[in-house]
Amino acid sequence: MNLPSVQFTKEQEEFRVEVRTFLQRELQKGTFQTKCDSWLSGSDPAFSKLIAEQGWIGLTWPKEYGGAERSSIDRYILTEEFLAIGAPVAAHWFADRQTGPLLLRFGTEFQKKLFLPKIVKGECFFAIGLSEPNSGSDLASVRTKAEKVEGGWIVNGAKTWTSNAQDAHFMITLVRTEPVSEKKHHGLSQLIVDLKSEGVTIAPIRYLTGEHHFNDVFFDNVFVADDMVVGAIGNGWAQGLAELAFERSGPERILSTFPLLNETIEELKRRQDINGLAHAAKLVAELWSLRNLSIGVAKVLEEGGEVGVPAALVKSVGTKFEQKIPEVVRMLLDVYPHLQAERDLDRFLAESTLHAPGFTIRGGTSEVLYGIIAKGVLAR
């Protein structure tokens, strides 16, 4: 598999400096605290609003919808800087990463005009309703049903593992609009559900730490108007698949535990521990090589290329790397992981260790990805 090698332009580097300077200033002001896995577990609507004010939500989107029409490489840089400093970007994350591109590709003009400018302003957050109770990796086994009625659809069923639904205003919901047939990928559609509609119940699923990032979302005769259907009725599976490449190859599959690696190296430097640094250097090299690949995929994506397989590959290798960092760190330094530790190292280690199991599960388990990758390379 050969992906392009990307060298950043001077403008891109200046943009990085701009973002970094801003974030470092906000960090010093105490606007946020560095956290590992902040893109999923750090939701702060006020912070997202601040990011919106910089024009950094919907960065690549057309200007007519409030976007900045910048390149995906710029967006890549922006995202990297959020992750490297562990900023709480979860509130607007899904709308920016998935909903925007989805609507731009499949949405109606009405939908684009209605939602995109609000997303860009940091006033409208989206959740993604994909998994269902008992569906697990078998995503196509959707049982949430939408039945046609006058002027719209009536939705009944439930979604689960919905990140950040508690802060979101809408949810892109994959539903079954035809009875189940032999081919379970058929007859699926994507609806935009207003989470404040009558009949919607959001119940927290607490993470093993007790934190609240995930939700069950139940639909009891929820009405969704016709103009809230995304793309074509029955085309939901194909539309959903297109989102996955965006979801799987990004820097968030490499950098979730980066603040821990960074702090570890700073601590080893303070201790003048040359042996420890030699071990840590190996992790830096791995990060470098993963990052090349991930940026390469971003480049192909921008050019409209097909990246399903390399994106799956970045996710499967990248998330193992994210998991490895806390395990290496505790061999290099004496630690006492604790979520409220005074020492950053101990806190980052606790966040990384406790969140690590999710890395190779969320967004496609490694087991499912192995199958996708193998079939992809065999088919060439």
Binding site: D138, G210, Q323, R330, V335, T365
Partner: protein, 344 residues
């Protein structure tokens, strides 16, 4: 284990099975603990196992006690059983009377400083201190280690926890009186570090037993793509890996217990602790991966065991400590490792 002791283990496991519901373990997160279970054990005098009969104990040996520790790990029992009994065991070891009230123990790398019979200083991450009356711990005076007892009335206690929400409190002493001052030989001091480590290893093996059991069970019940997931090769691989680590951990524990009983321990406790470091990582990883999303919810009990493994592996005498000890021994050894491994 003798037949009678098998019986004790059976009684205790039954108590844990019946009384330690998921909600009982979760109590810790609301600042409560398994008081009811503890009372049951006390009523049955289980906390006196391995205390000599002459000291008012129930008799028994390391094997009995460490087997109970393994059960504490296996059921994630939220009580200071290990700490209390280990404190008394250590007191017995130095020929001192066990304490009657609830005790805890803290044998770690940074002892308190003893000056003219009083101690000043801090202890971090002390297990269960908030509930205990006394603490058995170490102090140094002019480079020599003593085993001491302090009444916790003399401590300022700041509550804290480990990764698994178990009480790990910070204590501060200012000119605190000590109730015992037993000078330790170097050999005795080393033995205490081994005993503490063996206790932790026992708990870890128990947690591994259970994480493995839960995963096996889940793999039979959970269906994906139309069949139970244990039918998939990649899940079988996880199960085989888990079975391997469980067997290795279990036999490591049995081995160090046998050596402790015979008083023949050399490097084996260090080896066992290092093996458990690896096993904890591998087991937590595979158990969670098989359970997938369901296993990372608070609602599922898997995290009772994986969080404990993550917490315990960085407490008291951890892997890094023992690696350094072993490296130092290797450096000065004139034997080959094969000679060392095969000599008892």
């Amino acid at each position: 284990m003798s037949e009678m002791k098998d019986m004790i283990a059976g009684v205790v496991e039954r108590i844990f099975k019946e009384k330690v519901e998921k909600e009982t373990v979760d109590l810790l997160e609301t600042g409560k603990w398994g008081e009811e279970v503890w009372q049951l054990l006390v009523e049955n005098e289980i906390e006196k196992v391995a205390i000599k009969e002459g000291h008012g104990g129930a008799g028994g040996d390391y094997e009995d006690l460490f087997h109970l520790y393994r059960l504490v790990g296996k059921y994630a029992v939220p009580i200071p059983f290990v700490e209390h009994t280990l404190a008394n065991l250590v007191l017995e070891y130095v020929n001192s009377q066990p304490q009657s009230g609830l005790s805890t123990i803290h044998i770690a790398t940074q002892p308190l400083e003893l000056i003219k019979g009083k101690v000043t200083g801090q202890l971090q991450h002390v297990p269960w201190a908030r509930y205990a009356e006394k603490i058995v711990t170490l102090a140094t005076e002019q480079g020599k280690n003593s085993l001491i007892i302090i009444d916790l009335e003399e401590a300022t206690i700041e509550n804290s926890t480990n990764l698994a929400a178990e009480p790990r409190d910070h204590l501060r002493f200012t000119d605190a009186n000590i109730l015992l001052n037993h000078l330790l030989t170097e050999q005795q001091h080393e033995f205490l570090t081994q005993l503490q480590t063996a206790a932790t290893v026992s708990k870890m093996v128990g947690a591994i037993d259970r994480a493995f059991e839960l995963t096996l069970q889940f793999s039979k019940e959970r269906e994906q793509f139309g069949r139970p997931i244990h039918r998939f090769q990649l899940v079988q691989q996880h199960l085989a890996i888990l079975a391997g680590e469980q067997a290795l951990s279990s036999s490591a524990l049995d081995n160090i217990i046998a050596l402790l009983v015979e008083g023949q321990v050399k490097d084996e406790i260090a080896f066992a602790r290092l093996k458990l470091d690896d096993a904890s990582r591998i087991v937590a990883t595979s158990a969670h991966q098989v359970h997938a999303a369901i296993g990372v919810t608070h609602e599922h009990r898997l995290h009772h065991y994986t969080r404990r493994l993550w917490a315990w592996r960085d407490e008291d005498f951890h892997g890094n400590y023992w690696r350094k000890q072993l490296a130092d021994k290797l450096l000065h050894s004139t034997n080959t490792i094969w000679e060392d491994l095969t000599k008892s």
